[in-house]
């Protein structure tokens, strides 16, 4: 027989009520401060939400570790890329002179930039590590235009919460929140180690997200779309990765 004293019943009741309302308040605050990732549903949602929320609270403005020139990997590794097709080949033959980056969505002045225009914008470099989710890594010097500069140029509207970016490869798209979009190390890169960015490494234009795993650094970027509602894109999980079973947030 279970014996429950009145006092025990009362304290248990109060503790349960406090715990439940605490959770509700925490969930409301998390939503309000953008601490819930787009792939927060499903059985792995709690873990993903804890990771994303904890890192956004603790590392929102932190900079990825930067290395000295002597630490640059002599043998970087270009991961496997699916065949890029004839159209890409034609771009390549013309030295990507016709490559455009379209910027649309919640912007005051939608625009489309050529590589030459992007290269004429202020440039920024950092020597950082790119880590693949598989476990391998290399250090390289990445050079490009800060994404924040492009967003400023097109007049990003204040309600923007995510930047969606698409690859020349069909079905490859990603998104980041504003903490990463406005981060000083987030670059649209066109150079690696002082030379042109080779196709294998994502040339002519690769998004570089310094504090997340390699798959967020999308290759062959052609389009940026600024939005306040990430659910409108694809299956509403934030990027192509969760649709294929991988986490949207790759800060790990």
């Amino acid at each position: 027989m279970i014996k429950l004293s009145r006092r025990k019943l009362l304290t248990t009741g109060i503790a349960t009520a406090a715990g439940a309302s605490g959770l509700v308040v925490a969930a409301k605050l998390a939503k309000r401060y953008g601490l819930i990732p787009p792939d927060s549903g499903g059985i792995y949602g709690p873990g993903e939400t804890l990771t994303y929320a904890a890192q956004r609270l603790l590392t929102r403005h932190s900079l990825a570790r930067e290395f000295s020139r002597s630490q640059i990997s002599a043998k970087p590794f270009a991961n496997e890329v699916a065949p890029l097709g004839d159209e890409f080949e034609r771009h390549k033959q013309k030295a990507f002179a016709g490559w455009r980056l379209a910027v649309d969505g919640l912007v005051a002045r939608p625009a489309s930039f050529s590589l030459a225009e992007l290269k004429s914008f202020p440039r920024s470099s950092h020597i950082t590590m790119i880590q693949c989710e598989e476990g391998w890594s290399y250090i390289a010097e990445w050079t490009g235009v800060p994404l924040s500069h492009v967003l400023e140029r097109v007049g990003a509207l204040p309600q923007v919460r995510y930047v969606v970016y698409r690859s020349f490869q069909p079905d490859w798209w990603e998104s980041i929140d504003m903490a990463d979009a406005l981060h000083p190390q987030t670059l649209l890169t066109y150079e690696i180690n002082g030379g042109e960015l080779p196709v294998g490494f994502g040339g002519p234009l690769r998004m570089r997200i310094s504090r997340q795993l390699g798959y967020k650094s999308l290759k062959y970027v052609t389009q940026l779309t600024l939005t306040d509602n990430i659910r409108k894109f694809g299956k509403g999980l934030g990027s192509a990765e969760p649709e294929g079973g991988y986490a949207w947030y790759a800060g790990a």
Binding site: Y44, F67, E80, S137, R211, G251
Partner: protein, 251 residues
Amino acid sequence: MHNLRAIGRTAQMAETPHLRHSGLVRITHWLITAAFLALLVSGLEIVVSHPRFYWGETGNVNTTPLFKIPIPSSRNLVPTGYGYVLPDQNGWSRYLHFQSAWVLVLTALLYGFAGLFNGHFRRNLLPAVSDVSPKRLVSSIVEHLRLKRPSAEEAWSYNVLQRLAYLLVIFILFPLIIWTGLAMSPSFVSAVPAAVNILGGQQSARTLHFFLTWALVLFLLVHVFMVFLSGFRSRVRAMITGRAAEPLERV
């Protein structure tokens, strides 16, 4: 009225059976067991996508590994010597790995703080000073090597080797495996770079994480073997219900 209540409380205390393991120890034990097994399975799956280990900051298939594991890989471009590629399981493995890591860390924090404040570590795990003498240690090791079944009294307390093994796992191996795990997170180390710099680099952290896994697996195997040796049913029942057979002098 006052007296009646006092009598009632005494009667209640007498009815409460003496428990081998507190509720907190039992719940955290099984939560950590579940989380550890999930971390082990998902972690090994992740290793399959790159069964090569390096030392220092970086490493990839173009660089010389510290060592390779002779298994096939789930990635095309990893040279394994096998003529086939395993299916990619990293998506769910990574989701499960990090979710289980949260369960493990939060449970371990609860267990750790409770153990510090309620005297669990001091009372049940810290060996007596007299027990850590070389002579006692050697005799305990010999007893273990002879696979001697523990005495009835040992059903209610841990022997010195057991205490040292538990302390090693709780205060050294688990903190280290959590630390080396965090040291691989690009976002975490952006805020706390020392976490990875002290270890000698991100690939060193990955390699250490791998070795620590095997140290914990070794502990798990020995732990389960000892449970078998000392009576599987009674020991597992004690960790589930909290109850154990009373030794003679207690009855």
